[in-house]
Amino acid sequence: MSLVEVKDLSIGFGDHTVVHQMSLSITPGQRVGVVGESGSGKSLTALSIIDLLPESANTTGEIIRNVPAGESLRGKHIGMVFQEPMTALNPLMRVGDQIREALELHLPDIDFTARVSELIAEVDLPASVAKRYPHELSGGQRQRIGLAIALAGEPELLIADEPTSALDMITQAQIVALIKRVCDTHNMALLFISHDLGAVAALCEHVHVLEKGKCVESGSIETVLKAPQEAYTQRLIAAARPTRRRLKTREIGAPLLELDGISKRFKLPGPFWAQKAYVQALNDISLTIRESECVGLVGPSGCGKTTLSRIIAGLQTAQRGTIAFDQHTYGRKLGEMPHAARRELSMVFQDPFGSFDPRLNMAQSLYEPLYLMPELGHAERQERVHMALERVGLTPDMLGRHPHAFSGGQRQRLAIARALVLRPKLVVLDEPVSALDVSIRGDVLELLADLRENFGIAYLFVSHDLDVVRAVADRVLVMDKGEIVEQGDVDTVFDAPKARITQQLLGARLGV
């Protein structure tokens, strides 16, 4: 007998249907995954099961929950873990008391203090965290507390809505392993909602693939991964296993960018009379990028890879060290990055929504880099912008529109077009595909590979996704705590990692 049975569920707001005819069932102890992109209706499906839909939603269909009449559904029978661990906890309450609160509601007859310690031990936290406030814990620790609260009522079903999306790779793998272990020991069923096929594959036995509110495919995880029937599922799987792309006709050339001994530290805020505290963001970094080469830069969050890429792009200056780029040398004591160097370098940002001024139309944004080339006439400017658009597969008639008229993938293409207007020799790519839905990542990566092949542009590819880096990069740099701990050919480094952090990062990969 199944724990929860959803039959032909449709959810809509006004006359706009968001979930169409969804059916799923969860048997005791079964782990079920729901995979889909943002806006595919996966969270609403989960909320409908725990009866937390917004009031304005109208639903049709049937949800049968195997719960004795009169007993509370939430907490006691169905527990939930949320995406954002900071906002899911009460900031003014010690986390131990928050677990206790859940216990008092569901199991009023037990020794709360002992049970709280047991729950905290169960999620692998030291007993001392019970006395701490949420802001004193890291994201991963908060998510563990969220899980402990969900476990307090000893539910038969746990719903986890993107519980790892806000965490870094290494913590994500730990939380996934923890959820799996907890489900096994309690024989608890799991409904796991994620956009990440890798995490679902690591956790679930059964998977439902959602596209635009419709369940396009469902089945056991092995069958779906091995023999996906629907085009959409195939695209998802292909995106999780990015195609390897190497230069075919072009050779990697002479050194283009050389960093020598770059250091940067930030002063921590504090009262002026106190001893100044610093955080060393970059410590004596030296690296080389050659013409037409794609260099990957990976590392855990907070390792300094963003600072390094911003220094290379010229958005920040280093406190020590020199940079030699395309016959220009600059750095501390040698002066600012010269304008002539700026023309040869551009950057593509992570967030396709934040990278365009919402009040300017695309023409205004795309002509902007040409401020660096005042000598160009009107016709030449227009030719450059139109050419850049053509290269990314868009047409000049889109130039009159504002950013809100474009999808995320189109915006990222436009951001690449803006980077190409200068015809640069080096483009810094800061997580260029992480904010994109998986189904369009492949297109953007292919575009980047084509541009390198055809125009010999070198890339610095900053990413936390090792699979993507392995697919696109020739060489990889691994950073940890402001230093480059390992570098070399991407296959050599990933097949035989030497540094501890590289091994950890590789171990945390959730591939499919």
């Binding site: 792009a313 010229g314 958005l315 304008h339 700026r342 370098l345 551009s346 950057m347 940002f349 992570q350 967030d351 934040g354 990278s355 365009f356 001024d357 919402p358 009040r359 300017l360 944004s365 902007e368 880099p369 040409l370 401020y371 660096l372 809100h404 951001a415 803006r418």
Partner: protein
């Protein structure tokens, strides 16, 4: 989804509609008074003084026999003029200061912020009294005094809005394109904080009307033979027990004037501020 213009969206907001109606009425009265008033305001007609509401003088006459409606229209015009110019002074000096503080950071920001704190440390009415006693009471000095108090208000709003924009990626992209901080401020920051500034301007406008009335009431603002709402109130004070309408008319005008502009500002803020709309707590119109 079709993008509605901000103005159309604002019109669905009840307090914006009410505020717009009231403000438009006052502005209209002020504009008409520049070319025409029902009666001249500079002719004294003692035999007809303290007249009640009648067909000839819709709101009666004052202690010199002047038509109250005409005086009210001229008074609104002069109060509005003082408040508008005070807002202009505040915005023209304060907004560039705020944008500069956000763009340059460092010592320049510290200096601008300390300057703001210095002005804020004096209650507005006290600094206005100091200025008008130093330079003599007049409408122009009242305007300057209120305007100076507006400077830090606009500087703060501009800096606060600009600071959050400076962290965005399109600003980084503009820096990579070699734009100077001043160019970025004008091209990207200013248009994106404009909505905040417009809202602040309407609120400062209503505060300006109130401040002008206060200064005129204690004899430091507009001087006779000119008139303003505060001055009318002051002149009516001596006859309040005999002829309460003399004070009630300009008093009510001030109250309605201020309420209208505040409602307009609130409505604008609700429609323009994306943070409030996302929280979902704004759509009073339903």
């Amino acid at each position: 989804m079709a993008e509605q213009s901000t103005f159309v969206r604002a019109l669905h907001h009840p307090s914006f509609r009410l505020g717009l109606l009231g403000s438009a009425l006052f502005v209209l009265l002020a504009l008409i008074s520049l070319v025409w008033t029902p009666h001249p305001t500079d002719i004294v007609d003692i035999p007809n003084r303290f007249a009640n509401v009648n067909a000839n003088n819709w709101l009666g006459t004052d202690y010199l026999g002047r038509d109250q409606l005409s005086l009210l229209m001229v008074g609104i015009a002069s109060s509005l003029k003082v408040a508008l110019l005070a807002v202009a002074i505040g915005a023209l000096i304060g907004v560039p200061l705020g944008l500069m503080a956000a763009a340059q950071r460092g010592w320049l920001e510290a200096v601008i912020l300390r300057f703001n704190d210095f002005i804020f440390a004096f209650p507005a009415i006290i600094s206005a009294i100091i200025i008008t006693t130093l330079f003599g009471p007049s409408a122009i000095n009242a305007m300057v005094a209120i305007g100076i108090f507006n400077i830090p208000v606009f500087a703060r709003v501009a800096r606060g809005g600009a600071l959050s924009l400076w962290t965005l990626e399109y600003v980084d992209a503009a820096k990579l394109s070699g734009l100077s901080n001043a160019q970025i401020s004008l091209r990207h920051i200013m248009p994106n904080v404009a909505s905040l500034l417009i809202v602040q301007a309407t609120i400062q406008l209503s505060l300006g009307v109130l401040a002008e009335a206060g200064l005129s009431y204690i004899g430091l603002g507009t001087q006779p033979p000119d008139t303003s709402l505060g001055l009318m109130l002051k002149e009516a004070q001596s006859f309040f027990f005999g002829f309460p309408m003399q004070a009630i008319i300009p008093g009510m005008a001030i109250v309605l004037f201020v309420i209208s502009f505040n409602l307009l500002g609130d409505g604008l803020r609700d429609t323009l501020d994306p943070k409030l709309t996302k929280a979902g707590g704004v759509d009073v119109a339903g």
